[in-house]
Symmetry: C2
Subunit: 268 residues, 2 copies
């Protein structure tokens, strides 16, 4: 077989700044997605078509598509082809969880813009005694390995897992309480904690974002190219003792994390 260019692959068509072919292919498709020429849900040309169009091997096209997949722009649906991913955001509001805080008109506006209808929420709860992993131990200020109560929830919307919510409590303060029961606590675990004599006075929120572990991919049924946000909430009673450490794991492309802040009298 003879090719017109004897082996050089950089030169073959030197438009652009001579990026590798697979990156040029990725960029071209990315641009079409950004410009709307390829809309969400629409199908890409097949690998073979693209290979022919660009005059490269199928593997090179695959490399290009792999870039887009890892960026979360494209998904493969096996025997059909590749499709532009459509993304829509879901609201995650740490401050508003099951309780009505002041919520200004601006906050209401945001929520209304995002919340949609026809959602069927459900959850699974599982309570167990576990040895505190290092991250939890550090935040609850106990030695790693100390036994704590873990209340693990996976929340679903329309049957799809939407977030992981694992709360941890020091064993001695929740022992024999309602919190130990693997059922929904109607008034909220925070209220339950307060009733036990540990009203939370303040909390610290930490948000990390990273690519998920395989375990998280499994529990949340994530596609490739989906980063997760890991949100720790550590709750303290008035004297500064931590009484709760919750880990939320949110698939990033399905959530917006929303906080509201009031500037009491710090400036103006």
């Amino acid at each position: 077989m003879f090719n017109r260019m004897s082996k050089t692959q950089k030169v073959d068509t030197f438009r652009g700044a001579s990026l590798p072919a697979y990156q040029r292919i990725a960029a071209a498709i990315r641009d079409k997605i950004a410009s709307g020429e390829l809309a969400g849900g629409q199908q890409l040309p097949t690998e073979l078509e693209l290979a022919e169009q660009w005059g490269v091997a199928r593997q090179t096209v695959r490399n290009g598509i792999a870039v887009l997949v890892s960026e979360g722009l494209v998904v493969a649906r096996r025997p059909l082809g590749h499709f532009v991913r459509k993304r829509e955001h879901m609201l995650y509001r740490p401050q508003g969880e099951s309780r009505d805080q002041p919520a200004s008109p601006e906050m209401d506006r945001f929520c209304q813009q995002i919340i949609e209808e026809g959602r069927v929420p459900s959850q699974t709860i599982d309570v167990s005694l576990v040895q505190a992993p290092p991250d939890i131990a550090e935040r609850l200020r106990v030695d790693p390995g100390t036994v704590v109560v873990a209340r693990r929830r996976v929340r679903y919307i329309n049957g799809e897992p939407i977030n992981i919510n694992d709360s941890h409590f020091p064993l001695d303060i929740v022992k024999d309480s309602e919190i130990m029961s693997p059922a929904d606590v109607a008034r909220g675990t925070n209220q339950a904690l307060a009733d036990l004599g540990y009203p939370q006075d303040r909390a610290i929120d930490e948000i990390y974002t990273r690519m998920p572990t395989p375990e998280q991919i499994r529990r949340l049924d994530l596609g490739p190219g989906t980063p997760v946000a890991v949100h720790y909430v550590t709750g303290y009673v008035a004297d500064g003792t931590p009484v709760r450490c919750t880990v939320n794991v949110l698939p990033s492309d399905q959530h917006v994390i929303v906080f509201e802040r009031k500037f009491e009298r710090t400036w103006s």
Copy 2:
């Protein structure tokens, strides 16, 4: 060349649940990283060594390593090999930016654990009039394309870009003010806004996480497998008019986003 197995590639050694080879390779290395057997900064075996160890083609090893790279666990340093990435977190505290808020002892503790010494911060500022992009326009409640003031900052630590911080203001309220000058505003732009008669009363924080656009990769000099957190802050004056919309882009693996919340009298 004869192989003992005539073409079947699934069976060749059927330990585990018969995942594809490249995934088994990735998992094996990932485990070694998680267990600490391969510590941060340490070098992986070369592709050829791994190919021989596992009895597969080099390309298959490459696919496995690509998984780890896209997870942000491993980086390539070209003629040397692949190395386990070392990650350290940097503090990002929306509430504490250049102003001392109450900051409880717990918050101090967190900051001390994370902040390190010997850091040389610097920044570039650039102020321009731009047509509001859709996301900004929506939050400032103006029509897209309306001219607004954009105050763009890139912050560096030890010369490395650490975050993008773009603040947007309605043109009419900051016109001819200090905010229009591309220099650091010592007392903070929020104080400057207040002095102009627009004291902010509250703000809404939205946090999205996603894989970065190529433009963000360029501006922040990101490696592969690094998601970014996009943090919008919209500030409102008492009557509910938005007067500021700031977009922060943070490379995720370099930041923790930390909030502190007080539970005024909502529960207990």
